[in-house]
Subunit: 368 residues, 4 copies
C-alpha cells in the first residue's frame, strides 16, 4: 500500500516534514509515500513541484478531505491545530501534528478525546528531539539499567529568539494568539524528553517570568502576556526529583536542550547543540566518556554507516516519519500520541499557573 | 607589623590554609606572617616544622590564647566551629573560619552576634570559590553592566563523594554530627557565589532527597539523616529568578560548581571543573567566547604573568588570605564575614526545611 | 529542463547521493531531477523503488548510455572510477564522481585530460567537507581577510576504521586494488580543504607508516601495501607553511577532520566531529568564540531557519548536488572538477612517495 | 640536613621558583629549605623579605659562592645561563636551571660537559610541564602499555605573545641576544614532553618561519632574526613517527601545549590550557574519557585530597622542586639533567637549521 500524504503549512516545520516524507523510504526502505497535496493559503505551485507534491491548494479542508490522502501533516500556527486535527480525524485520516497540541488545555483535551474515539487512526505529535540517535541511546541506557535507578533529572531548554527587547510585539506574545510562551515553544520539548527518560510527573512547583514586559508596536508599547522563561521543581512518580528550566531570552543559546540524569550507578549528559554527543559515566569509570553517534545506533545506520559523521536536525524528523508509517502499517505504536501529548500539555500548563505553589499531576499517572 | 597566626586543624583545609599563609607574601608582597602555632589533637611536630610553624600543640585553647597570635585559622570539623570561633573572638583575635559556620542556625546566629559585639576584629569565612580569577572577572562583568540586567541564575554544585552506596555510615550523615548534608558541604558554596552575583534572596522553594537512606555500619544498616541532594527555585530581591541544585551523589562529578547568568544583554557561564575558563556572550556576539584566566586579572597576575598558564584551587586560598590580611590592616573589608555568613546559613537551612513550600527570606534583605 | 540522473553504486556514498538527489529541490527549490536509473551489480529493484528511481539495472554501461540520463553519479570502488567516468564523458554526460579520482596518478591524469576534451560537460568530485556551512563560513572569513594573511595551516584527518590489527586483510590494502591507503581515503579530503583555504602547495615533505604490516587472511598473514598513516610539511605558494597528518589507525577518532589556520590577524579552528562549530579568534578578542551554524549561512538556511539546530553529514551532499545542478544549468562553476581533482591526486601521491625528501609541486601552481 | 638556597632572578620564573621553595615542604613534608640569598641586579630587599630569603644581593657571584648555599636556582635571561651554571657547578653547588640551557649548542655542550665532570652535583632543567599530574598520568599509561605500542605523536606548543606586529623589536629577537625564537621559548618544552613519552628522536625534517620579518625600534624597523614558528616531522628510534609544531604568533593561543599519542591499543590527548584534563581512549571504549586530575595521582594528593579541584601551573614547579630535593638527598635521580637537556637542545637546533632536509640525531640515541 502506498500512503497518500497531505501536508498543511510550508514554513519551518512544513519544509522539515516535506524533507522527511521525501526521504523516509530512501533512508529506511519500503515504498515511498505518495505526496498528494500541499496546502497553504498561498497555494504554492512552485513549492509543490519542488517538494514533489502532486498539487497545491489554498484550501486545507479540501486537502484533508481528498480521498487519496491517508495521513495529514499539520505544521501551521498553534491556533489552527485543533480545527485541522479534528477535521482530519473526522475524515478518517491519520494525523502528524507539530507541537504543542493547541493553545489551551481545553482544546488539547478535546483533541485527545476525539482521537480516543478514533482508535484506528494513528496520531503523532512532532517532538523531534525524541528521535535523535543520541537520545534513543540515552533512553536505552536508562531502560537497561546501565546508570542504575534514576535519582535526579536536571533539564533546560534555552534559546534567545526573543532576547532582543526591540523585537516588535506580535500576536504570538498573547495568550489568545500564542498560548503559552517559552513553555509552549520550548518547554514542551523538554517535558517530552524528561517524561520519556524519567516517567510520570507526580507534582511540580514552578515560577515564570516575563523579562521584557512590553514590546514596540505601531500603536506604541504593548504588553507581552505569555512567559519568557519558566523554572520548575519536579517530583516524579518514581520518587526521583528534577529541576526544569526554559527560556526564550537566554542570550547566546540557540538550541540548548540540555539535560542530565544522575542514576544510582551512573550519569548521562546531553546537549542538543552538540546533538551527536552523549556523555556517559558509569560507576568505576575514570570520568565522562563522549559517545559520538554512529551506526551502532540503528536509526543512525539508516543514514550513514560511518561513526562520527554527524546526524542532522532534519534527519530526526525522517526517523519520526518512519515511526509514523510503521504504526500506520500496524507495527509498533509511536508516540507521543494525542493522549500522551495531553499529559505534556497538562504539565506545561501546570507550570504556567503554579506561581510558586505545588501542583499535583494526578492525571499524569493515569496517562503514563 | 608582623601578623601572628594560629592554625587549628591539619586536614584538607588545614593544609590549604598553611600553604596560603606560607605563600601570601611571596605572591602579593609585604611582610610574611609569623606562623606561631599549629594546633591539632596529635600535636604534630613534624607538620609544624614542614609547614614552617614555630610550634605544635594539642591544645587549641592554648593556641587561641597565645599572646603572639593575632589571627586564628579554624579548619576543624563543623561541630567544633562555634566553640573555637567564639573563643578566638573573646581572646581578641581575628578569625578565618572554614564554611559552613556551624551545625545549626542557632549556633551561626550566636556566632554572628558575638562577632557583631567585637567590631574591631575581622571575621572571614572560607568561601574559596569567590576568589578565583574567573569568578572575580565574572563579578566585575555583572557589576559593570556588561551583560545588562541579570534576569536569571542557574546554578549547580555537584560532587559524587557519597555516591557509592557501600560507603559506610558516619556521624557526618547525622544532623547532630554533620548538620546539613550536601547543602552544608556544597550548597553553601553555591549560595555564596549566587548571592555575590545576583544579590539577596527574597523567597525560595526547595526539595531535598536522601538517595541512599541507610548505610552499612558495624551495628548493621544505619539511617542517613541529612540530605544527599537538594533543589530550589529562587526569587531574588531584584526580581530575577533562579534555579539551584546540589548533590553529593552525582556520579562522575568532582567539583562541578557550574552556573550561568542570563542578563538582558548577555550571558556568562562558568564551571569550576574548568576553573580557568569563563564563557561570555554579549548581544551581537557570534557565540560564546572562552576567556582564559590571565594577568589582566590582578589576582592572577600576582601568581603568573602569562595567560592561560593555569591558576589552581589552592591559589584561591592565597587570595582569600591576602584579603584577610588587608582587612586586618585596615584596608578594604573582606567577606563573607560572620554576618554575611549567617545569611548564607539561613538560605541553606530554609532549603533544607522548605519541603516544596515557599519560604520568605526577609532577613536576607536586612543583611545584604 | 528536468535533469535525468543515473546513479551507479548503492553503498555508503550511493545512498548518500540518492538522498541528495531526492532532496535537492526540496531544500533549494527548482524542478526535482528525474531519477532515471539505479545501477548496481545486483540490479536492486527494491532499492530503486525505495529511492524513487524509475528502474534498476545490473549493467552500468546501459545506465550511462540511457538517453534519458544527463548526469551520472559514480559511487563505486575506486578501481572502477576511471572506466565509468570515461564512459560517461564519452557518452556526453555530466559526471559526479566520489573521491579519490582513481587508483593511480596516470589514471587521474587520463581522466582529467578527457574531461578537458569535453569542456561542455560538468565534472564534480565528491569532496563533501567543502560544503558544510561551517567550512563555507571559514572560507569566507579567510577570503574576506578577517584573520589577515594566512600564515600557517595545521590539519589532520584521523579515523580508526583500520586500527584493529585483527581486521582481515582485503584487496583494499593493496596498491593495485586500493591505491593509496589513508591518503586516498582520508588525506585527499584534508588536501581539498587545505587547498581551498590556503591556495596552492609549492613543496612538501612527507613520511608514511604501515602500522599493521600484515593482516590475517584465509591463506595466512598477508602484507598490507598501502599506508596506514602519513605526515607532511607543506610550503604553500603564498609563503605560508603547514603541517598535515592523516591516519586510519587513530584509536577513538571517527571523523576527526580537524584544522586550524593562524592568520596575521586571527585564528580559525574546526573539527568535523563537531561540524556545526567554527571557532574564531580575531586580534583583540578575549578568546576563541564558538560560532554555531545557523541561517546566517545561506546553505544552512535552505534546510532550517533556526540556528544551532544541527546540520548533518548528508546535507553537505545536498549542497554539493545543488552546486552541480547550478553548474550544469550554466550558473556558477562548481569544483573540484577533474582538473582540480588531479592537483589533489598529485599532492597525495607526492606524499605517498616523498619518504622524508622534499617534493616540488610545480604543477600545482599551473592548475590553481 | 637543611638545604641552603640561592635564587638568581626575580622575574616570571624567579617568583615561581620562590613559591616552590616556600611551599615544597608544606606540600610534601620534610624540612623546609633555608632561603639564604636572593640575587638580582636591583638587590631587592623587599622581595627578599616577602619571599622569605635571609638577604638580597646585586652580586650573583657572591650568592653562588655563599658557603651557606647548597643549590642555586637560575632564572635569568638565557644569555646568562652558561656563566651562572658553570660558576655554580665549579663552586660545588647543585643547579636548578630554567630552560633552555643556553643560547648556542656549543654553550649547552660545554655546560653538559662540566656537569659530567661534577657527577656528585645534581643538575635539573626547569621543564615544568613534565611535572603536571595529568602528564605524569599519561606517561604512566604509556609506560604501562595501556595504549599499546606508541605509533604516532602529534604535538604543538603555540602561544601568541609575539603575534602583534606592532610589538617593538627587542634583543630577544636576535640570535646573539635571544638564541632560538619559538623553538627556544616553547618548542623545547614540547620536545621535553615528546621525548619523555616517545623515546629518542632518530631523524627529523623541519621548516621555520619568521612571520613578522621586521619590527619597530627607535632607529626604525629592525630585522627579526629568530623564528616565529617551526614545523617538523619526526622519526623516533622506536619506529614511531611524529609531527611537531610551535609558534609564538598563533593568535588566541595562550599556553596550547597540546599533544596526542596514537597507540596500537589506545589514544591519549592533552592540552595544557586545560591542564587538569587527560583524554583517554582504549580499544573497546565507546569514546574518549575525560580524566580529571585527582588524588589518585600522588603529586596531586600532596596538594589536595579532592578530585577535580584544580592543580595550578605553579604547583608543577613545587613538584619539580621536590624531585630536585629528593635527588640531592640521594633519592631517585631527577631530570632532565644537563645531559638530557643537551639532547633537547640538539633537537631544537636541528629543527632550526633543517630547512626542509632530513637531519639524523645520532647523539639522541646515546643520551637516551
Amino acid at each position: 500500500m502506498t500512503l497518500g500524504v497531505a501536508l498543511i503549512g510550508t514554513g519551518f516545520m512544513g519544509k522539515c516534514h516535506a524533507m522527511a516524507w521525501r526521504n523516509v523510504a530512501t533512508a529506511f526502505g519500503g515504498t515511498p509515500p505518495r505526496l498528494q497535496v500541499l496546502a497553504d493559503a498561498a497555494a504554492p505551485d512552485d513549492l509543490a513541484r519542488a517538494w514533489g507534491f502532486a498539487r497545491a491548494t489554498a484550501d486545507w479542508q479540501a486537502a484533508v478531505a481528498d480521498p487519496g490522502v491517508d495521513v495529514v501533516s499539520i505544521t501551521t500556527p498553534n491556533g489552527l491545530h485543533r480545527a485541522m486535527a479534528e477535521a482530519a480525524l473526522r475524515a478518517g485520516k491519520h494525523v502528524w501534528l507539530e507541537k504543542p497540541m493547541a493553545l489551551t488545555l481545553a482544546d488539547a483535551q478535546a483533541m485527545a478525546d476525539l482521537a480516543a474515539a478514533h482508535p484506528g487512526q494513528v496520531t503523532l505529535l512532532g517532538y523531534n528531539y525524541l528521535r535523535s540517535p543520541a537520545f534513543q541511546a540515552a533512553r536505552a541506557l536508562v531502560a537497561d539499567g546501565v546508570i542504575g535507578q534514576p535519582l535526579a533529572f536536571r533539564g533546560v531548554y534555552d534559546e534567545d529568539y526573543s532576547a532582543d527587547p526591540t523585537l516588535p510585539w506580535s500576536w504570538r506574545m498573547t495568550h489568545q494568539g500564542g498560548g503559552l510562551g517559552a513553555l509552549g515553544d520550548l518547554g514542551c520539548h523538554l517535558v517530552s524528553v524528561m517524561v520519556a527518560l524519567m516517567g510520570p510527573v507526580a507534582e511540580l512547583t514552578a515560577m515564570t517570568q516575563i523579562a521584557v514586559p512590553t514590546r514596540p508596536s505601531p500603536e506604541g508599547p504593548r504588553a507581552v502576556e505569555n512567559e519568557d522563561s519558566a523554572l520548575a521543581l519536579i517530583r516524579f512518580a518514581s520518587g526521583a526529583q528534577g529541576s526544569f528550566a526554559t527560556s526564550r531570552v537566554a542570550r547566546g543559546r540557540k538550541c540548548r536542550l540540555q539535560w542530565e540524569i544522575h542514576g544510582s550507578n551512573g550519569t548521562l549528559v546531553f546537549d542538543q547543540e552538540n546533538m551527536n554527543e552523549l556523555w556517559v559515566h558509569r560507576a568505576g569509570d575514570a570520568g565522562f566518556t563522549r559517545h559520538l553517534t554512529g551506526p551502532d545506533q540503528p536509526d543512525f545506520a539508516a543514514f550513514c554507516p560511518a561513526p562520527g559523521h554527524g546526524f542532522g536536525f532534519n534527519e530526526q524528523k525522517v526517523v519520526e516519519c518512519r515511526d509514523l508509517i510503521r504504526a500506520i502499517g500496524g507495527g509498533a505504536p509511536c508516540g507521543p500520541d494525542f493522549a500522551a501529548g495531553l499529559t505534556i500539555e497538562r504539565i506545561i500548563h501546570a507550570m504556567a499557573t503554579s506561581n510558586g505553589r505545588p501542583v499535583t499531576l494526578e492525571a499524569a499517572h493515569e496517562d503514563a
